[in-house]
């Protein structure tokens, strides 16, 4: 990503952003709501035009690179009561691989990829269950499986730990750990506490992007991004380290 800017009319949402994530990195983008996180995701997925700059995904522009990206949207945007089976839902992650325009039918290899994806998230054998009967944790893993069905090299997760309880979150991070052997993972979140110690590349986004290779969030970074010191969870320390808000 080089010097990327995005504007809506006069409103500059992303301003001169440059960032590089390498293969098998576990990267995190944090920032407040309204800081441009969604816009950044859309830009990566090639869903909106850049005002300036260049994005390259494994050497391809975003539109083409989309086939190599597995996207996991925010959990709460889902209608889990939709009448659909788990495997039908996961198959939808195969569309970008299915040729043709009008008649797009799932082929054997699509069914195999969907089954493999379900296995990767530890849910083999539940393909025929209706989506609505799954538990919250299972539903989250099924959404990840849908992204994995496209056999991505890069997995992007939008706010993956919001609305998820603590045991589910733990399960989630151990799943990501195993996935990191095969792909690059980027998490986008406003919840600093949601970032695992395994993250090796971190950036804070609030119109500008403040990057830090060592996955350390410094006070200065938080102040420049959030505008004030924020409560911080220290990783490797088994409890919360709370800082006082001395201004605001």
């Amino acid at each position: 990503m080089e010097n990327v800017s995005v504007r809506y009319g006069q409103n500059v949402v992303l301003d001169g952003i440059s960032w590089e994530v390498r293969e098998h990195d576990f990267a995190a983008v944090i920032g407040p709501n309204g800081g441009g996180k969604t816009t950044l995701l859309k830009a990566l997925l090639g869903l909106l035009p850049l005002s300036s700059g260049r994005i390259s995904i494994f050497g391809h522009p975003p539109g083409e690179g989309r086939r190599m990206i597995g996207y996991v949207p925010q959990f709460h945007t889902f209608d889990f009561s939709y009448p659909i089976t788990v495997s039908e839902m996961i198959l939808q992650g195969r569309f970008s691989h299915i040729p043709g325009r009008l008649l797009r039918r799932y082929r054997d290899e699509d069914h195999e990829a969907a089954e493999r994806a379900l296995g990767m998230v530890g849910l083999s054998g539940i393909g025929d269950l209706p989506l609505s009967t799954l538990s919250g944790g299972q539903q989250q893993r099924v959404i990840i499986a849908r992204a994995l069905a496209g056999e991505p090299r890069l997995l992007i997760l939008d706010e993956p730990t919001v609305y998820v309880d603590a045991p589910t979150e733990e399960q989630f991070f151990s799943l990501i750990d195993t996935l990191l052997n095969e792909m690059t993972v980027i998490i986008v979140t406003h919840d600093i506490g949601a970032i695992s110690g395994k993250v090796n590349r971190i950036a804070c986004l609030n119109r500008h992007l403040y990057t830090h290779g060592d996955a350390m969030i410094t006070d200065d970074m938080l102040i420049s991004v959030y505008g004030c010191p924020v409560d911080l969870i220290a990783h490797g320390v088994p409890h919360r380290v709370l800082r006082e808000h001395d201004d605001v």
Binding site: F78, Y82, E88, S96, S132
Partner: protein, 279 residues
Amino acid sequence: MVCRTGYSGSMTMFEILGYGFFQNAIIAGIIAAIACGITGSFVIVRRMVATSGGISHAAFGGVGLGYFMGIDPLIGAFLFTIGAAILIWYLKTHELQETDTITGAIWATGMAVGIIFIALTPGYAPDLFSYLFGNILLVPHQDLLMMGVLLILILLLVSTLFTQLTAVTFDEEYARIMGLPVGGLTLALFILIALTVVLLISVVGIILVIALLTLPAATARLYTHTLPSMMANAVFIGIGTVLAGITLSYYFDLPSGAMIILVGAGIYASTLVGRHYTR
């Protein structure tokens, strides 16, 4: 209004119309139920009930146009529903207005246009009540043929695009990321609603279309877990609803369209209550 209301489903009328017309009513009912079950399921899962209401009421403008120009009002209705579907789609996809707002405007405008055309037409408008409230017992052969053609169009559209329509109604944003033509598929859904509305006018009338379109599908959704089984069940419930409605309408000498809807609402309500007590 002193026009023929089509409400006079008395014994004598039945004797005059004979067995053939009753057969027509049954065929019309089955065609309508199949279309409703399929399109209605998409309407329910994608929450397009209000949009469907807008498209169906716009049909009245076409009925008025039909009277005014001296052509079959159903052809006018066909033109107006397709036009309304395309207009709502255009304004929605170009984010010019909230779908809700556009729907309300088109709903009322369609009705108003119809009323103006009918006022401009010399003489009275025969069968006006049939178009508004339906009369399945008086469906002519010609309309039956049109319904059959519309049903074939609907089946072709849905069977060709089924996986993609499922994807778009389940998760539109993801479908877009997967490279599906979301705009075109959304238009296909709206056109599907327009075709179904025209098909239903003879059976329940413009005012009541929305109920037959949604009640069987809403009932099926209460106990099914996949879209194909929801559609199959909705078709089955729809056929039962229409046949029971026709029978009751004949037996009590009451308007058929309204009886069909009341049966549909009754089945929906009792399924809802039944589900509440079995959980």
